[in-house]
């Protein structure tokens, strides 16, 4: 990644400098790794063993130049006739003859028949130059392909002369500013059998074809590309019905646009764990788990949900056939077949061992290009791990990169080894993905239960809870795991615990009820006591009032009596007497 970004930087920086002009090859991926294509107006050697795709490379360079970049070309073949060549590229959808008729291409087959030729004295290859010149002039060519020019070594004996003529030829091509591809056979320990690379100092591309574990991979390396920054790695490439394509290993530029939109996972309870709204659109999701933990089911739910909302999903299965997956998913209440019929879901199942990694990648690319889905599911990626895990890593990196670039939500499932360190996925792609959902089996009390948790989720406040993952006829449900005394209970342990809990609650309830009754009885008693006391109190109070009243009445009478007595005695100031 670091290297990629660095490369990118230098590439942009060098644009400012007077860089060697590049001539786009039109070959997918090649222009990317060479910073624009082949050096314009200069010869390039493409070397490699038999069957490695040299000619195909050269042909595509020429044809794309003629059809896409408005640069007519000359094809000079030394081994195959023009007709054979036409037939070879016909399978790629190119028609050499019609290009030649339109004056976009000039075909010249140079036939060398050593048995017909007798040498006497000095000669040179001026005839070749005459032919080339004639060809270049007749279509105003900008590109030239010499397909295995070294064939002349087999036709002529004077190798000293041939070498000087080849040097002259390259000079000649360069002087005329012709962007040339010269194919050359690989030699023993040298890039080319006749050491042609000595004469071409501008650009050398080496192609290779090797077989690893019965799976062949083609690789390309830019050995030399003078005056321009180029990737020095070996890049896998493919030749298929669309032609030549190079897959840059490290094209992660990390400048994808990101989306804030969400996309539902199809499992309500899982969405709840993801802030209630699901995954980010265009993010990458890794679902890992041991075998039988329900990875495919999670993936199928996602596919189902995507299609339900009218979007397209691409499902690539490496383990099960389409029919098998649809049947299996029906058992959890998912009907994928209806979406396949509606054309919303495309199912592709093939064996991981069917192709090399590059072919897988390219096939996925093609499918994505054709179908343009919103969601891509690869189930499982683990099966791709064949010989070299590093390659898988690189390939997945490229795939993720590609999908992210197109804003497609990628879902990969991966199998983790039983009882291994589950936090390490074999391919180590966990670091590349944005979301990592871990499915786990918990063995407890003689049974095995599935658990799910969100191990990682970039940019979202996700739940940290382990949920029990239950597959039912109506789909996946995530039950909040029972957490008590520091342990997570699942399955029957959870049920037992829940029952226990319920019983306890009931008992408490009953106890409380009893207490309540008891208290109400007590309250009755106390209340009656209070009433008695109160009546006692009130009777006391009335007695007191009566006594008070009696006393005041008596005093009044006394006062009256005194007054009366005073009157009788003749005392006037009775009041003073009373008050004192």
């Amino acid at each position: 990644m670091a290297r990629a970004s660095k490369r990118h930087k230098t590439a942009t920086a060098s644009h400012a400098l007077p860089q060697l002009k590049k001539s786009p090859s039109g070959i997918a991926g090649f222009d990317e790794i060479t910073g624009g294509g082949l050096p314009a107006g200069r010869p390039t050697i493409v070397c490699g063993g038999p069957g490695c795709g040299k000619t195909m490379f050269a042909m595509e360079f020429l044809i794309r130049g003629a059809t896409e970049f408005g640069e007519p070309g000359v094809l000079m073949t030394f081994e195959e006739t023009g007709e054979e060549m036409s037939r070879n590229v016909e399978s790629l959808g190119f028609n050499l003859q019609s290009l030649a008729d339109k004056k976009k291409l000039f075909l010249d087959y140079v036939r060398i028949e050593p048995s017909e030729i007798q040498e006497t004295g000095e000669y040179d290859l001026e005839g070749l130059f005459v032919r080339l010149q004639n060809a270049v002039e007749s279509v105003d060519a900008k590109r030239v392909v010499l397909d295995t020019v070294e064939a002349i070594f087999s036709g002529f004996g004077n190798s000293g002369m041939l070498r000087s003529e080849i040097r002259r030829l390259f000079r000649w091509l360069k002087d005329r500013g012709l962007t040339t591809v010269i194919t050359a056979e690989r030699g023993e320990g040298t890039l080319t059998r006749y050491g042609l690379e000595e004469y071409v100092s501008d650009c050398v591309v080496s192609l290779d074809h090797r077989v690893n574990d019965q799976i062949s991979t083609r690789r390309m390396r830019i050995v030399k590309d003078r005056g321009s920054s180029h990737g020095t790695d070996e890049y896998p490439f493919l030749i298929d019905k669309k032609g030549f394509s190079v897959l840059p290993l490290s094209s992660i530029r990390l400048d994808h646009k990101v989306s804030k939109d969400r996309i539902s996972s199809g499992i309500k309870d899982l969405d709840v764990m993801l802030e209630g709204r699901g995954f980010f659109k265009g993010s990458s999701i890794l679902v890992s788990g041991t075998s039988g933990s329900g990875k495919s089911t999670v993936a199928a739910h996602f596919a189902n949900e995507t299609c339900r909302s009218g979007k397209r999903a691409l499902y690539i299965a490496f383990e099960e056939s389409s029919a098998q997956v649809t049947r299996n998913m029906r058992s959890v209440g998912i009907n994928l077949a209806q979406y396949i019929q509606k054309g919303l879901l495309e199912f592709h199942a093939w064996r991981p061992s069917q192709h090399g990694l590059e072919m897988h990648l390219l096939r996925i690319h093609d499918l994505v290009d054709e179908f343009n889905p919103q969601v891509v599911i690869v189930d499982p990626i683990t099966n791709l791990i064949s010989a070299n895990p590093n390659e898988v890593h690189a390939m997945l990196m490229r795939l993720l990169d590609f999908l992210k670039d197109r804003h497609m939500t990628a879902t990969f499932t991966t199998l983790t080894a039983n009882r291994g360190a589950e936090e390490q996925t074999e391919v180590g792609i966990s670091s590349l993905t944005d979301t990592w959902i871990l499915l786990r089996d918990l063995e407890l009390n003689g049974e095995r239960n599935r658990c799910l948790y969100v191990l990682k989720l970039r940019g979202m406040a996700h739940s940290n809870q382990i949920r029990e993952f239950v597959l039912s006829r109506t789909g996946v449900h995530l039950l909040p795991a029972y957490i008590g005394s520091g342990t997570v209970y699942t399955g029957s342990a959870r049920l037992a615990q829940e029952a226990r809990e319920k019983a306890e609650a009931l008992r408490e309830q009953q106890q409380l009820e009893e207490k309540r009754k008891e208290f109400s009885v007590r309250r009755g008693v106390l209340e009656s006591q209070i009433a008695a006391l109160r009546s006692e109190l009130s009777s006391g109070e009335s007695e007191f009032a009566r006594l008070t009243r009696q006393r005041s009445e008596r005093q009044q009478r006394l006062a009256l009596d005194r007054e009366e007595m005073g009157k009788i005695r003749g005392v006037t100031s009775a009041n003073e007497v009373v008050n004192s």
Partner: protein, 113 residues
């Protein structure tokens, strides 16, 4: 058939068949007046006069003037001498300095002198 072809492209240099023997139809391909071409033409004329009197037609083709013929006649090396007739086609490249080899190449040694 054979003679009509010859008539269609009458030789630049001299050469008339006597009729009895097989007539060699020769073409010398050159590219401009280069020293090698001139030497080759000199050598060829000499060989023809000495060994093929009256049994050949020679046609010198300058590819600078008719470049298309280089492709049509599969010419690569310069100078090239081609024996078009009798069949099969034979090609001799070089300045033709080795007379014996030229004669072997033209397959006419047995009839010399």
């Amino acid at each position: 058939m054979r003679s009509s072809k010859v008539k269609a492209k009458p030789p630049k240099t001299q050469g008339t068949g006597n009729g009895t023997d097989v007539v060699l139809e020769l073409r010398l391909y050159v590219a401009g007046q280069t020293p090698k071409s001139l030497i080759a033409l000199q050598n060829l004329t000499k060989i023809c006069e000495e060994h093929l009197q009256g049994r050949y037609r020679l046609h010198v083709i300058d590819l600078v003037k008719t470049p298309q013929l280089a492709q049509d006649d599969q010419i690569l090396a310069i100078p090239t001498l081609v024996r078009n007739l009798p069949q099969p086609i034979r090609k001799i490249i070089g300045d033709l300095s080795d007379t014996q080899r030229v004669l072997v190449g033209l397959d006419v040694r047995s009839q010399a002198k």
